[in-house]
Amino acid sequence: MSTSTDAMPRAQRAGWLTPRRAKAILKRGVLYLLLAIVAFFFAGPLYILLSTSFKTMPEIQAGGLMSLPHEPTTQAWVTAWGEACIGITCGGLKGYFGNSMIMAVPAVLISVMIGAINGYALAKWPFPGARFVFAALVAGNFVPFQVVLAPVSVTLRTLGLFGSVEGLILIHVIYGIPITTMLFRNFFLSVPNDLIKAARIDGAGFFWIFFRIVLPLSPSVIVVALILQFTGIWNDFLFAVSFSNPSSAPMTVALNNLVNSNFGVKEYNVHMAATVIAAAPTLILYILLGRYFLRGMTAGAVKG
């Protein structure tokens, strides 16, 4: 419902503040005021998080939630990264950041690879029952993972992987199959069949076509899948808290333990710095690749 200021005839523009014009300006004013409130609500918390992380504890206790730090200090960041006590160890978050990285990177790469092959097989090499197989795989997106926690726990113990990063990788790869398969299958349906047929007539096989024809056509969906999986796995808490131990805990668990532990004086500036560190990787992905990010989130919103 854009107001009609642009289309207004020149004659009216001459008499500057006609009642109609005044109403249009007022409407725009209200619009931008509302947008400013919206922006404040969403951006405010991140600003407060950042500014608090550069303050000293006395300054925080003095109030002034919205104020900039008087004497900005990176002490809280140094503490959060390398010295803060999480549980009984006092080595900061760096080890847990490492845990999250060595968990997320392989899990993301493997699950995206599997999803791409599955999606390609289902979309381009259909067979009787392919639709049923697709439905059976994709239904996994809707299942609340609480319903598999206990048996997964038993299985990981049996395999000797409970409490290890490898165990978490395995679980993220398995439960990543439904979403990545769905994403790639839906995308590959749009790849022209003629290309595949022509290659097959020339004697090209399943994997040759996959690597030489289909994958080069799909950089965007690969990026979407990588972002979606990385965000999901980096931000996961349920599997992390269920199947890790203090030495293999990812960031989300360590952060929650740091902030919500009941021992000692609460160092809010350290908590805020730690929170920013935990959010940074996915936030940076969003800033750099926002467009793909949205596509991934829309596709991934169904999953657990």
Binding site: L122, V147, D236
Partner: protein, 290 residues
Amino acid sequence: MRRFLQRHVSQVALSPSLALIAIFLYGFIAYTAAVSTTNSKAFPRFDNFVGLEQYWRLFHTPRWHVAFTNMFLFGGLFLLVTISLGLLIAILIDQRIRAESFFRSIVMYPMAMSFVVTGIIWQWLLNPTLGIEVMVHQLGFESFRLDWLTNPNTVIWALVVAAFWQGCGLVMALFLAGLRGIDEDIWKAAAVDGIPAWRVYVFIVIPMLAPVFLTVVVLLSLSIVRAFDLVVALTNGGPGVSSDLPSVFMFDMAFRRTNLGLSAASAVVMLGTVLAILIPYLYVETRERA
């Protein structure tokens, strides 16, 4: 053998995934359902069949009542707030504004944050001695109270506002895409007839967005049933158990109270809730396509 592989290469490529999902998803759901009919404590055992007794106990456990009711209370409020404000923000952004992508990004960036991070941020903002309450006091409104986190009657609003902050971006984006998909001619025709914009929205545009509403309701409902991290990080179920949700109850029974049978029953009820949302949705979707 080689020829078999070549002819069925598609099935062969899919079979590892299918096997893993058959075991880790369907097999494990069956396993949990089986455990829910036993009296298992710390470890799953199948030699102590008790039928549906765990479900009976579950619905006679006061804490489960709180958790299950909270799911609907939190869910209802979250749906109402997120859908109405998400749509409103999408409409505001759709007014050919300046710096549109700037506003869009600001509404959507919280999507990148985990629920743990979201919970911690809002725990800080809602802290009565350091957060928004103190800020408003310093602005001169001394009587202002924001005690959501410490008041069992209003703690659910803390969950709603945090979940809204995190999830609004996606809802806004879905509505914005829906609004952009609406034929421009409708607006032109309405302008010719001199119909005010709000009436066009209420009587024409919003009804046309019905499929988007359906998608949004289903997506948000699924996330409500699964909500876990946010509660753990923001309120940890408190004060007392007043902000407990089924997922937290389930986790507590399985990993802290060593009551696997009861925990399994609660997990099956969660799955049942998801199916109750999903099956009508899939029914509507497939009927429309057919």
